[in-house]
Amino acid sequence: MNTIPTFSSMTPEAGLKKAFGMTRPDIIAQINASGLKGRGGAGFPTGVKWNFAASAKADKKYIVCNADEGEPGTFKDRVILQEYADLVFEGMTIAAKAVGAKEGILFLRGEYTYLRPHLEAVLAKRREKKLLGKNVLSADIEFDIRIFMGAGAYICGEETALIECLEGFRGEPRNRPPFPVNTGFLDRPSVVNNVETLAWAACILQEGPEWFKSKGTEKSTGIKIFSISGDCERPGVYEFPLGITVADLLKKVGGTKARAVQIGGASGQCVPASEFQRCIAFEDIPTGGSVIVFGPQRDMLDVLHNFLEFFVDESCGQCTPCRLGNRKLLEGVEMLKAGTCSMAYLRELCALGESMQLSSKCGLGQSSPCAFLSVVKHFRDELMGRTNSLTHA
């Protein structure tokens, strides 16, 4: 259950050796040609990101691996770091060569502290093998990686908040632009990539961009690692090509009885059974890999209640739409559960949700109303006039 066949089939350091025989623009060209997009959820083209950082002029540059995996229902990065840490560090070293960075930082979430001894051991071995250090692979390239522990904040998964935390500040997102590729950690160009993205970068260098492009769809190339949880027979980590339909995915994991599926975690969208033919890909339903299956017995209002409590707790509080908006939505769900919400007020709450999407400063507030809006849209008939909490069944 905890194996990822494609990652297991890779030859250790083959991608790294190839990259070290290439020029910097050639490496970036390979990543660009593969169409690899950020696997954390936002889906920004990785090659473009690397290219921005590579062309920025600075005395120092940084490669940051974002292992602050906090999105509800996501745990693929934990498995990748447990089983394929070398592949991730290989990806970071390739990125360092492409961008011209000497320092790498793995930002590991505080909840994963138990992974640290293993990761430190992997890093030590890599230093021994000259895969990190002063002369990586005996070339004139210096690169090393250190681990920085997060301190329990979901918002630090946002790249500028993560950088704030690294710098010793509250994890409050910055205005963008300037983007971290220009003005990142300590105002230096910094590439912040998800764990999985870096692992795929190493695979692409080994197998070539055509291999990667042969899987997935035209706009969403390659394979994606999914974290499946909830009401299904076989929860766990899976690899599927992007473009897979929700129905096919549910068949593979034994969740065909589902009444709805939450894709993309709490900040993603809720897909009802009537739309299970839709595809999971950046052009249809984007995801960072989290799929939570809801069986026929689930009350969608309970689900929303849980999500909104999460966002109220994890909002950094910096901007008003997110800080107060999530609170208002949570109160609204409580009213719906108590059966005291008028249709007019529900409409107001939906308008509030849309305002939050437009006016919040970062991805947290922009995406936190998604679940609320999609549940209201698809399960409207279950929400109103409740006399107890389980009237839908």
Partner: protein, 173 residues
């Protein structure tokens, strides 16, 4: 007695900042270390850290209070964090929560009188396929049942006995 304790804290923080660097980027790692060692970051420790890094103590407090693993509240030797997010919630985390409260005789957010256990909620800790999950300090427990809560607590209690003995020896030296 109070002074000795304060001197000890001061010296330890000084040694820590010498090791990690006297700059702002060391702030979070320093706070993590202090929290791990003393189970709280009090205003005295914040002042020393601020002096060492050349920043205002309010800055230290502002950072410490932002992160759920830091903060200035006192915690027990064992901090139990039960995941309350959706997948664990659907796997009956509520029953585990009830049993933890029963066995420890405290509510969430509280510390036992003997200072051994603190009970807290955690948001998604990435164990969604094996819920309900909880962390005891850095250690993760999965597929926790109301029955297994007792075993987990017992294990901590017996380990605590050993630690207490170790600490006494240190004091004697």
């Amino acid at each position: 007695m109070l002074m000795t304790e304060r001197d000890r804290v001061t010296n330890e923080i000084k040694a820590l900042t010498d090791k990690l660097g006297h700059n702002r980027t060391s702030l979070v790692p320093i706070l993590q270390d202090v929290k791990r060692k003393y189970h709280r970051i009090d205003s005295f420790a914040m002042q020393v850290i601020a002096d060492e890094l050349g920043i205002h103590p309010v800055e230290v407090h502002s950072v410490a209070s932002f992160y759920s693993f830091l903060g200035d509240h006192v915690q027990g030797k064992y901090v139990i964090r039960l995941c309350r997010t959706i997948s664990c919630d659907m796997q009956n985390k509520e029953r585990v929560a009830r049993q933890l409260e029963n066995d420890l005789d405290i509510s969430f957010g509280e510390t036992t009188k003997d200072g051994k256990f603190t009970l807290e909620w955690a948001n998604c800790m990435g164990m969604c396929d094996q819920g309900p999950a909880l962390l005891v300090n850095d250690r993760v427990f999965t597929k926790v049942t109301p029955e297994s809560v007792h075993e987990i607590l017992q294990e901590c209690r017996s380990a605590f006995g050993q630690h207490a003995a170790e600490r006494k020896e240190v004091h004697l030296v």
